[in-house]
Point group: C2
Chain length 349, copies 2
């Protein structure tokens, strides 16, 4: 094992942490979208038999973790740490799920960047042999997010031209050490060939966006910053990747992302996939696309990882982008900063 | 380097991450307490020249980080990652401080356990050579916390018999690899001999407390759980430590902690120090003591680390305890779970 830090913000893993399984749970609106049929579980309505939207989100979170563990043929006893969070104040979806699951818990807050923040820290734990297996999860729920960050749904407020719809969804990645013997022979739904090989820790970047309905613009500068830093740190070019993925920039944010990269001489548009513009269909009229912790989590967990496992794509740089939006700070005149964390996911036979 | 995980929840560091410096900023009420004269900076009033309490807390956070970096004779360029959080929704104190400091940032939420969660993850980063130097910081502010979690101060609500006062304070630990050459010869205020040798990741534990004014009782079960797990994982007895420290159990929570440990045959009362009952004087009438992310952060940063460096105490198990209290979950009838993370701090000549 050598020195893992390369450049300024990037880590190269030396023990090949492996994504052995993923679990995803989504709302019915998400199931009607472009990735229909890819998700593990679809909830019946916005409360899924619970008394509140918040309780529903918690249940989704718990279920996503359990599905990932089950697909790997493991039990919670085999998982050393749960890492993750969600958009709600005091990350209650993750916290209460951790209580039921009785797993050691590292609570994270990175807004919509959480699933990659969790996978990044989780990979460090596995790579450094601080853990054999970690569950990394994040969730969001359209109705809990609207209530907390914007307007009560009952008001029927119209979305603005730059609005994005918060995904109702929870996703979990189970990351284990390379020597983990989970295999398709006994666990047909596991992954055998997906590795996390590098990670780039993001900075908080702020170009002065103040509109809580324009999350894409608040996050695009962070995505550009992290991608450019990753390329600088590693000496890679974007062409070394089959895809450059972002979590939830949406259509407007994606354009901003291309422009910011172009300014530094990096053409990313042809290689770019944004989870926020992938999950819904145009007919669903979600304006600029999807957002929320759940967006990157379920698109990665249900769709991208399967493509890597299948060999259809072999190496991606996956960023999740968070808008660190605070209603209190907003009322006090503050702008909305963004952050993006990235990991390299790679197929190895 | 060997396998770092021991037992179920504990990590043994193999490369001796070292606390090279700490920075603390507190309110004037804290400076009037039992640890008067120990803190690096005392703010002049509850707003410290800012327009809001929240902006004040952010400034304290930033200052604590800068003081720690300065004491080590470093600049932000020498710091690889800032890890931490605070009690506010979307951890805005930490997030906006990370924006100004322009440091790669891992946002954490562990309520009042945050400073130890940050130090634990930070130590893993340093120990595994993912980073050379990390800043781990947490803050709280009496006025921002009361506004968010309880009653507006203007109401003049009386504290209940189990209430604790949220510390106005921010603390930062700068953790570097062992080979870091920071020494007293050039940096008289640095630490030369304080190492983090083990860490125990806590679980979310809940014995059914519903009273937002009884944080100590909500956190005591988590502190007992983490201590008992640490002892089981390591084979240590409490007598292997000079002190067993908790973040902010207060007088009532401390008694509960003793009882819960005693039930498992562990007598901890004689070795116990609670930061929450240490920082204020009885004459300050804070009922059950102090609480808040800032409590453990500033008591550790200003007082305990100095005692370890001086050799007065040689080995402590330091836990910070978080009550994962959510006003929304509370209104929905939910109880308040707690979590405690622990690290072993040790003097090595």
């Amino acid at each position: 094992m050598g020195h893992r830090k390369i450049g300024k913000q990037t880590i190269t893993f030396t023990n090949s942490p492996r994504v052995v399984a993923a679990g995803t749970v989504v709302g019915h609106f998400e199931e009607q979208g472009a990735l229909s049929g890819h998700f593990d579980k679809v909830i019946t309505d916005d409360k899924w038999g619970e008394k509140s939207f918040e309780l529903c989100e918690r249940k989704m979170y718990e279920n996503a973790v359990c599905i990932a563990i089950e697909k790997a043929g493991k039990t919670t006893q085999d998982v050393d740490v749960l890492l993750g969070g969600d958009l709600l104040n005091q990350i209650i979806s993750a916290g209460y799920a951790a209580r039921s699951l009785e797993l050691p818990f590292l609570g994270l807050y990175g807004a919509c960047s959480t699933i990659i923040e969790a996978s990044l820290v989780g990979s460090i734990l596995v790579d450094s042999e601080c853990a054999n297996s970690v569950a990394c999860a994040a969730s969001s729920h359209f109705s809990t997010a609207e209530r907390q960050f914007r307007m009560p749904l009952e008001l029927g407020t119209q979305p603005t031209p730059t609005a994005q719809r918060t995904v109702t969804g929870a996703g979990c990645l189970l990351i284990s050490k390379d020597s983990d013997n989970t295999s398709k022979a006994t666990q047909p739904e596991c992954f055998e060939n997906v590795y996390i090989t590098q990670a780039t820790i993001g900075r908080v970047v702020d170009l002065g966006i103040t509109d809580g309905n324009n999350m894409g613009a608040a996050m695009a500068p962070a995505a550009a910053d992290t991608l450019l830093m990753h390329l600088e740190d590693t000496g890679h070019s974007v062409n070394d990747y089959d895809l450059i993925v972002t979590g939830d920039l949406g259509t407007f944010g994606s354009k901003m992302f291309y422009m910011l990269c172009e300014e530094k001489g990096v053409s990313v548009a042809d290689l770019h996939l944004d989870c926020g513009t992938t999950i819904y269909l145009p007919s669903q009229k979600v304006v600029c696309g999807a957002s929320g912790c759940g967006c990157a989590s379920v698109v990665l967990g249900s769709y991208l990882l399967k493509r890597i496992e299948a060999g259809d794509i072999k190496k991606i740089f996956m960023m999740a982008t968070g808008a660190l939006m605070s209603p209190v700070a907003g009322l006090q005149g503050e702008t909305i900063p963004g952050i993006a964390h990235g990991i390299v996911l790679e197929r190895r036979a």
